[in-house]
Structures are given as C-alpha cells and as structure tokens.
Subunit: 353 residues, 2 copies
C-alpha cells in the first residue's frame, strides 16, 4: 500500500485548532481511497522562539526533508515580532525547499456570502500564481544613521531572470493545464523604475513561447480595483512575491473566503517537499476559543493530496467541503454567521466523505 | 479682487477631454464667489516626448513655480513606456515641489452603483494619506548581468525618518482636523524585512505625540481584503508610496468611483504649488470619443479650491457634483451606465452651481 509521510507543523494560535480537523479528514479519505498516511508532528512555533531563541531547531530543514509534504497551520504571535517569526520558519522553508510557486485559488463557493453585489458561485473562479522565493521579500538592506536626524531604512528587491522566468513559465503552463489560455501579469512599471520594467520585459519574452495564450497586464493599483469591479475577467494572474501576496488575500476577500482559502507552496520539480497552508494567519484575536473555521486548513490538505498524486482523494475532500457549506443545516462557524465550533464543522466535513 | 493663477496640464488621452469641463466649472464658481482665476496652459505630454525626447522643457519646473496651483489631467500613452512618461513629468513635479502628501477620499456617492453588496452612501467614507516623494518609488537600482544567465534587476526602496515622520504626522493631524481620532497604518513588516519594521517603529513613535488618536495597523495583504469586507471601520489610512498607491485605487474601486475620485498632491508648508488630478489615468482605450467621466477632474478642482483657501467655492462644486449624480434624469457617462458624453455631464454640473 502506498503510504505518505506528512510533516505537520500546527504553529501558533488557531493553527493548532484547525490542524486536527485537517488530519481527521486526511485519515478518513486515506481509508476510503485505500492509501496509508503517517503524520510526524513538529511543535515549532513562537513559544519555541521565546524559549530557545529559534523558531525551529538548527537541523529543522533536514528533519522536514524526510517527509513527502508539509502541512502548516499558521505562524506568528503578538509577543514575537512578525518579521522574526516568519523569517525563522515559514520563509526559510519556502526558500530552502525551492517552493518558488505559491498557488492560490480564488473561487466563490456555495453557501459563503459574497461581499460583492450580484455574484453567484461560478462567477468568480481564477488562480493566482505568486513568485515565492525572491523579489521584494529580501534581507538586503538595513537601517542607516540610527539615532541621527538623517536616519532611515533601505530595502532592496531582487528579481533574477532565473527566478522570474520560471514563475512566468509556470503561470503559462498552468493556464494550458486548465485549458484557460489567458494570463494576466501584475506590474507597477510606472512607479518601480527598475524592477517592474524588467519583470514586464520577461513577461513579454516568455509569453512568446506560448503564442496560444492571451496575455494582458495591469498596474497593481488598478488591478486590485479590477478584482472588485470585474473579477469575472481573470483566469490565471501572475505576480511577484509582494504583488502576489496582496492579490491572494484580496482574492479571498472578494469571495468572502479569507478563512476558507488555501495556499500551496510548490516545488514543481519535486526535488523537495512542497508545503500547504491556509491563507489565514494565526488570528490571536480568536485563538483559544475553538471557533476558527477549519475549511482553509482542510482545503490546503486537499491541494496537498492533488500534489501527492491522489486526485480522487482530493476531489472527495473538495466535494465534502462544498456539500457541507451548501447545506443550510450544517454547522457554521462565527465567520460564516453561525455559532458552531471548529470541531463541529470539521466533523461534519469528515462525515460527508 | 483676489486672483489665482492656475497651471493647467491636460496631458494625454482623456486628460485633454475632461480638463475643459473642470475649467468651465472653475470659471463659473469664481464668478459666483467673486474671485478671479487665470489659467496658464501647458501642452506637455507624451507627444512632446516623441517630438523632443523630453516630457517637459528643461525649465518646466521653474515655469510651473510661478502658479498658485497645478491642475493635471492624466499622463501616459501606449507608444511611450510608462516609466518614461511618468518619471519625466508627474513624479518630478511631485518631488521638486515637495508634494509629500497624496490625499485621496474614499467615499460612496449617491447615484453611483457600489460594487459591494448592501452598502449605501454614508457607509463608506474615509481618507487615504499616501507618502508621495520617497519609499518604493526610487531610481536606485538597475539591471545586472544583462544578457547572461545570471541577469536580473534590483530596486531599492528608501525610507528616511524625515520623510516617514512628516507623512505620519500629517495623517495624525488630519485625523484631528476631521474630528475622527483614528489612524490605520499599512505595513508588511512580516515580509519586507527592513523597510516596514522601520515604518512601524516610526508609526509607534509619532503616535505617542497623539495620545488622543486611536492607532491600528494591518499588513497590506489583509488590509486590502478588509477594504472589501469591512470598509466601514476606516477613518484615516496612512501608507507608503506604493501601499498608498494600491489602496487609493482599491478605495475608489470599492465605491465604484474610479472615474470619479480625485487626488491631491500637497505641499502642506505651501512653499511650493500643490497639484490636483483625477485618480484615473489617460485611458487610451476610450480616448478620442469624449465619453470619459469628467467628475474626477472636477472633484480634483474642488480639492484645489479648498487648498487655495476657498472652502465656500469648493463646497458649491461638491454640492453641484452630488446634485447632478443623484438626479436620475441628469446625463450619465457610459461608466455610470448612461450614454451621455463628457461635455453634457460637465455642462450639467456647471448648471448646478
Ligand atoms: C501613474 C503612476 C506613476 C501614479 C502613481 O503610481 O503614483 C498613479 O498611479 C497615481 O496613483 O497617481
Ligand atoms: C505571513 C507572511 C510572511 C506571508 C507572506 O507574506 O508571504 C503570508 O501573508 C502569506 O501570504 O503566506
């Protein structure tokens, strides 16, 4: 029997509350589809940092590399500065494992109230392909003139051709795979004088390899506005690390699915494990009450199954999610206007598999 | 009689079509309020660049400095790369005249269909204060290794304490002026390792000078989503050049007013002229047909009157805009679902003064 070993990092806050529901779902679907699944639990989080000064052990990356995939909850807690906690765990995993694609669906689901007027399931359905290893997220820079009137900070973004071309190719390939031959690029070449004109020139160059794919591009400011005004027009949207980050929270924002949307950090060559997580963060404001919506974590697990080569299992999980959400009698967490807890909603989804 | 000299730069595309309507409005309201207004026309645009290689003459800034204020249409045209046209005209004006504040209203107006569900005029009403002279918009950087496999581009953002503190103070002061004691800061300190932690530390430091003002901050990704999910919660939102840019297109996006919203580039010390423009661009797709909505340009003129010290005139213009928009029988341009042209809508607003 084929068996997958999954590294499980619940992390902080509601990460630890939603994770058990995803593991229940995975165990159930493994039974139904007849494959084995083993979890290795890693309790690395902000508490680890407060205790040891590190978010994960020195050989953390080595440990994770033994697994087929990584399922992550959420990282970050108020007592630890965000740039410490994230750059100590989430970002090193993305980079050391060359997970240079961050893939996120933007999809209006049944049973989830949409903040946009006059939209119904099916109207909004596209994908964001985000560069996940370089660009604006860099440690190049620092504070200068500290404590003097000429104090300031610098931050340098780096776009390599290597890193830019591979994410653009992934986006075009993904459009072909979906059979939706249209890629939109996020730019800001009118303001960011060097990086974005370069990005645009690579988009144009790589696009020539895909003459069957329609291309367009928008500056990030108007693109964000168009997500709200005309979300129907998108198929695959490709953006840099920062622009992809913004668009892939805004996307779930327009579909009412911030608590529900998943995020896949993929190494397409499969030389390293990929990592799957919900889009939402650790949500300290509601942590400890077991009222967080587990659907984002469960949907992330479904994307993991797809990546592992278990499309049937992935499909069963997605069907169970949709069936649960569209049933008005099913438990609903407070973010969906209900009063149910994390565990009730999780259990309902398990039952629907 | 007090008289204002206004430098008028219609620019490109629909900029040249909406500008005459704003000038008509200004002439009319000057008559009603009994002050003088003189226009100096500057035909600087992308055609100038194609002809001369420069967007404006060498002494362009000197010429403009003779005026009390600048009214700009829109800059940019497809045959000229955006980063050339903008860095040759719009951005130098902002910088040479120390217009370090970009102030933009986000307001749901009567008669404009809102893309968000269940919102009515009054529900969305806040201000964006954007840093307008430094930050991510920089010319520091370039392409390296051109033509080799290790090719790439770098782009450095610079945040000085001088530039950061003054925009933050403006935001806090503006909150006090409005009597809405709440400032929200846009950050991304979890991803942008140096610049945004620095921004956050200055926000905290300057906030201490304003103990009466409530402060909160969100990462730009979730902040963009919250503009869609809960726009009621904002009063004054302050952001860097790039984040402010994105949020101040998204804001008009959620209120359906992309074609209608204005943008004020302000030098608060009044040592230099300030500049007023619509948020929309030159819109090459509809240029030449005189169907563009002139309200953004006219509202920009109203913000200019306010800045010049003519609040009564500014109020009359705003009332005329609102009266026109809420009248179902008034002319409506195609972006508002009508069939009227730029001139008809402009004339209707003039009549309502
Ligand atoms: C045209 C462009 C350079 C400009 C900017 O990004 O500042 C525009 O988007 C704006 O917001 O005024
Ligand atoms: C937590 C943060 C560093 C992260 C990011 O910006 O990449 C998050 O927002 C995400 O999108 O996964």
């Amino acid at each position: 029997m084929r068996t997958y070993e999954i590294a499980v990092i619940p992390g902080d806050g509601i990460g630890t509350e939603v994770m058990p529901e995803a593991l229940n779902v995975l165990e159930r679907v493994a039974e139904v589809c007849d494959f084995g699944i083993k979890f290795r639990n890693y309790d690395w989080n902000c508490e680890t940092w407060l205790r040891t000064g590190q978010m994960m052990p020195k050989d953390g990356i080595d440990q994770l590399s033994q697994s087929d995939s990584i399922l992550l909850g959420a990282v970050g807690f108020p007592s630890v500065p965000d740039h410490i906690s994230l750059w100590g765990l989430l970002i090193p995993i993305r980079r050391e494992f060359h997970q240079y694609v961050n893939l996120r669906p933007v999809r209006l689901l049944p049973g989830i109230p949409c903040p946009l007027a006059n939209k119904k399931p099916g109207d909004i359905d596209f994908w964001i392909v985000r560069e996940n290893c370089e660009g604006e997220y860099s440690q190049i820079g620092g504070v200068f003139g500290e404590g003097t009137p000429s104090e300031g900070a610098m931050q340098t973004a780096v776009f390599t051709r290597y890193g830019t071309d591979r994410i653009l190719r992934y986006a075009f390939d993904y459009a072909r795979k979906l059979g939706r031959l249209h890629v939109t690029s996020a730019t800001k070449s009118n303001g960011l004088f060097h990086s974005m004109p370069y990005w645009d020139s690579r988009f144009e160059a790589i696009g020539k390899e895909y003459p069957d794919v329609r291309m367009d591009q928008y500056h990030i400011d108007i693109l964000a506005a168009r997500f709200v005004m005309s979300p129907e027009r998108f198929d695959v949207v490709v953006g840099s690390n920062l622009f992809g980050d913004i668009l892939s929270d805004l996307g779930p924002g327009i579909t009412g699915t911030i608590a529900v949307a998943p995020s896949a950090n993929i190494n397409p060559e499969r030389a390293y494990p990929s990592m799957f997580e919900p889009v939402h963060g650790s949500a300290p404001d509601i942590a400890g009450r077991f009222i967080a919506n587990p659907v984002g974590q469960i949907w992330a697990a479904a994307m993991m199954l797809e990546h592992l080569g278990e499309p049937e299992a992935a499909g069963l999980v997605m069907q169970a999610i949709e069936k649960t959400l569209e049933n008005p009698a099913a438990p609903r967490t407070p973010d969906m206007g209900g009063t149910a807890g994390t565990r009730e909603l999780g259990a309902a989804i398990v039952q629907n598999i």
